[in-house]
């Protein structure tokens, strides 16, 4: 900016030009042509007056009334507060913006994106996409992955440990605690493996048979590669050497009240242990800390739940008072700990029908998860900061 060099001259010439312009427009509009020469003379006289005053006292500056002058003052202040900022903006603007290649490139990029999107929708519309036999749709996953990545890294700032306990390939059964009214914990375990694990395996979560009765939810879960929780599905997935996640607490875990947080509910009927024993898959206990506080559920309105066919209906401090805004979860700090795998290949192959053994392993896994949660809770200083 040329504020420092020859300030007086510039100011004078500018302030001289400005009223002139105004005068001419006024004259042109109102048709008072005879005022024009007298006003120009007046300005001339004023300018000469300013010059004479400055000749006597060099410190004198005319009052800052012109827009140019105001801009200069503003620029001066910006320059003082953040030196070099204006130069940076100016250089950035001048070098690229007036280059036609920039605009050509922008146009090509926009055009390509549009074509790609149009092609994508056309393809989806005419049914030219592939899903696997479970309904997993990789393209659909690609659409939603950024959202879950944001939730994983920025919103809940998930801290994962023991990811090396999951083998690079082969059948593995993850067993986790379940909480949070909505099954975000399943999604975050999936993200943890996808982000941190060396082979970025797809986690096949088994969800409660209530979810497929809900519109959109059923479609969404199926397209994300999840399936309904029953032993047939679990065994088939494990036999296909997949990574399966189960939440034996089920609906009792998801609908947990705030006062019951981090107290594990009953671990189902041991179906997951039968699955693991039948397919001889190692069980990896997973503990999720932080998810139990994303909604503060005060009461389970069973009457409403029965009326609308839900297994539970939480009344939280925000839901249903704030409508859909009440669905926004709290930004707690999450920890996902993958424990040491519990091998099941040491047992005879027909031991899945041994009720004693099944309930024994069920309790063992439950205690491992509870202990890991308790340990993490003891280390945690704050719910939101970790």
């Amino acid at each position: 900016m040329s504020i420092d060099e020859n300030p007086v001259d510039e100011v004078i010439s500018e302030s001289g030009g400005e009223p002139e312009a105004i005068a001419s427009t006024v004259a042109g509009e109102s048709g008072l042509g005879d005022h024009e020469p007298s006003r120009a003379e007046l300005i001339e006289e004023l300018n000469r007056l300013v010059e004479r005053i400055q000749a006597y006292s060099p410190d004198y500056e005319p009052p800052s009334y012109s827009p140019k002058r105001l801009l200069d003052v503003f620029g001066e202040n910006v320059h003082n507060l953040a030196p070099g900022l204006i130069d940076k903006i100016r250089s950035g603007l001048s070098s690229d913006l007036f280059d036609p290649d920039t605009w050509k490139g922008l146009w090509f990029m926009l055009n390509y994106t549009l074509e790609y999107q149009a092609d994508f929708f056309k393809r989806r519309y005419s049914g030219e996409y592939e899903v696997d036999e479970w309904g997993y749709d990789p393209e659909f996953m690609g659409l939603f992955k950024p959202f879950f990545e944001f939730m994983y890294t920025k919103y809940w700032r998930v801290q994962t440990s023991g990811i090396e306990n999951i083998a690079a390939e082969g059948r593995t059964l993850l067993v986790s605690n379940h909480s949070g009214q909505l099954p975000f914990d399943g999604a975050m375990i999936g993200m943890a493996v996808m982000q941190e694990h060396e082979t970025q395996r797809l986690v096949r979560s088994l969800y409660a048979p209530w979810f497929p009765t809900l519109p959109f939810v059923s479609t969404f879960l199926t397209k994300m590669g999840q399936t309904i929780a029953n032993e047939e599905n679990g065994i088939r997935l494990l036999e296909q050497e997949q990574l399966v996640a189960v939440f034996p607490e089920g609906i009792k875990g998801v609908g947990k009240l705030y006062k019951d947080r981090y107290k594990l509910a009953r671990f189902g009927r041991g179906g997951f242990v039968r699955m693991a024993l039948k397919t001889q898959s190692p069980i990896v206990p997973v503990s999720v800390v932080g998810a139990e506080e994303i909604y503060i559920s005060l009461y389970n309105a069973k009457a409403i739940a029965r009326l609308i066919g839900f297994p539970f209906f939480p009344i939280t401090i925000t839901w249903p008072w704030f409508g859909l805004l009440g669905v926004v979860p709290l930004p707690t700090k999450w920890y996902i700990d993958f424990g040491e795998p519990i091998p099941t290949d040491g047992y005879p192959p027909d031991s899945y029908s041994n009720f004693n053994l099944v309930s024994q392993i069920t309790d063992q896994v439950r205690n491992t998860v509870q202990n890991a949660i308790d340990q993490r809770l003891a280390e945690r200083k704050s719910v939101f900061a970790g």
């Binding site: 519309y125 309904g135 199926t222 088939r236």
Partner: protein, 370 residues
């Protein structure tokens, strides 16, 4: 098997009976999967209350209803070996009549088969008998419970028949009973729930639901039924084409647009349509079957029955779509006339007729070649 094998096909007056009888009579190679001598020159008796709509050469047609009490005498006096029961009506308005025609007739036929000492009975069923439920496993095996009894119409009747059959099989284990549970049947000529559903200008789906669906081509249905008659494959088998596309993909492949409907309205509309038949056509498939997955496991079909359908799901759907598109520009008759399969059949029939003519002319006047 010194003498000719006699096969009784019931319901030759309807599409499936006629197709199976025609395939049994017209196919020169009904090879068996275990290297045994093939079933050649089988004597095919067609049984129905009305004669078949298409001309089937060599069919021994007996005009009688399956519910006729003298059926066992027909089976004994005609020395029937195998029975393929395809008499089934899905066009009955009253559920009582439908139950009588479909369920009671099957029971009576199976009773007559036990009396006459039939060696093999083949039945057509549907994978819908498992029922569409939220808790269904992703792949329904043949041992799964039949919840289809809780649904309506055809599915309920089929589930009733199947329940009867499992008890019957326990009582009369010496009869080789084959039940083929077919997925939704699709094809250019068949008239099934699925083709009726897909032939609507806008195909109704339930908003927010997109279950995986299985289909099977009509040709493969006939092939599988004939295969079960020719080979020794007693038991229950799911039969479906390779691949289970989501419902929206299925509709897109069939070349149609979807019309999403809130599921409450669909159930409401469906409950209305049972009373007023004007609405029936909108939901040929019950809303539950468009809401939950009911995909059947095909391991037994591949490994025990050793039957592989020729068409994959996508091929069957694409063929259906092209046939539908042709139908837009020309009448159904013209579209059929352009259909390659049909033309091949016609050529085959003409060649056979010419050969016969040559044989007869050779006897009378040598040296003349047409």
């Amino acid at each position: 098997m010194d003498e000719k094998t006699t096969i009784l096909v019931t319901g030759v007056g309807n599409y499936w009976g006629a197709q199976v009888a025609a395939r049994l009579l017209n196919s020169p190679d009904l090879a068996r999967n275990d290297g045994q001598p093939a079933l050649e020159n089988a004597h095919v008796i067609g049984l129905d209350a009305k004669p078949p709509g298409i001309e089937i050469k060599g069919l021994d047609f007996i005009q009688a209803d399956v519910r006729n009490p003298l059926l066992s005498e027909v089976l004994i006096s005609e020395q029937v070996d195998f029975v393929c029961h395809l008499a089934y009506s899905d066009r009955e308005k009253s559920s009582e009549t439908a139950f009588d025609i479909n369920v009671m007739s099957t029971m009576k036929l199976l009773g007559a088969c036990a009396e006459a000492g039939i060696r093999k009975v083949v039945l057509r069923s549907s994978t819908a008998v498992y029922g569409a439920r939220p808790g269904n496993p992703a792949f329904l095996t043949e041992t799964h419970l039949l919840h289809g009894k809780e649904s309506q119409g055809e599915t309920r009747n089929l589930a009733e028949i199947e329940t009867f059959c499992s008890g019957y099989h326990r009582q009369v284990p010496e009869i080789g009973l084959t039940i083929l549970r077919f997925a939704s049947i699709i094809g250019p000529t068949a008239d099934t729930n699925m083709t009726r559903y897909l032939k609507q200008p806008y195909v109704p789906v339930l908003l927010g639901f997109n279950p995986l669906m299985q289909v099977i081509h009509e040709r493969d249905v006939v092939d599988a039924l004939v295969y079960a008659l020719v080979n020794e494959v007693p038991g229950v088998f799911n039969v479906a084409a390779e691949g289970s596309p989501p419902l929206t993909k299925l509709i897109a492949l069939a070349g149609k647009s979807t019309l999403p409907v809130l599921h409450w309205f669909a159930y409401w509309g469906n409950s209305l349509s049972n009373r007023q038949h004007a609405l029936q056509s909108a939901w040929p498939i019950e809303p539950d079957y468009l809401r939950y997955t009911w995909v059947a496991d095909l391991t037994r079909m591949r490994e025990e029955m050793r039957f592989i359908p020729q068409y994959t799901a996508e091929e069957a759907l694409r063929e259906f779509a092209s046939q539908q598109r042709l139908g837009k520009y020309m009448s159904e008759e013209t579209a059929k006339a352009l259909d390659e399969e049909r033309l091949r059949d016609i050529l085959e029939r003409r060649r056979r007729m010419r050969e016969q003519r040559v044989v007869s002319s050779d006897e009378s006047n040598e040296g003349i070649v047409p």
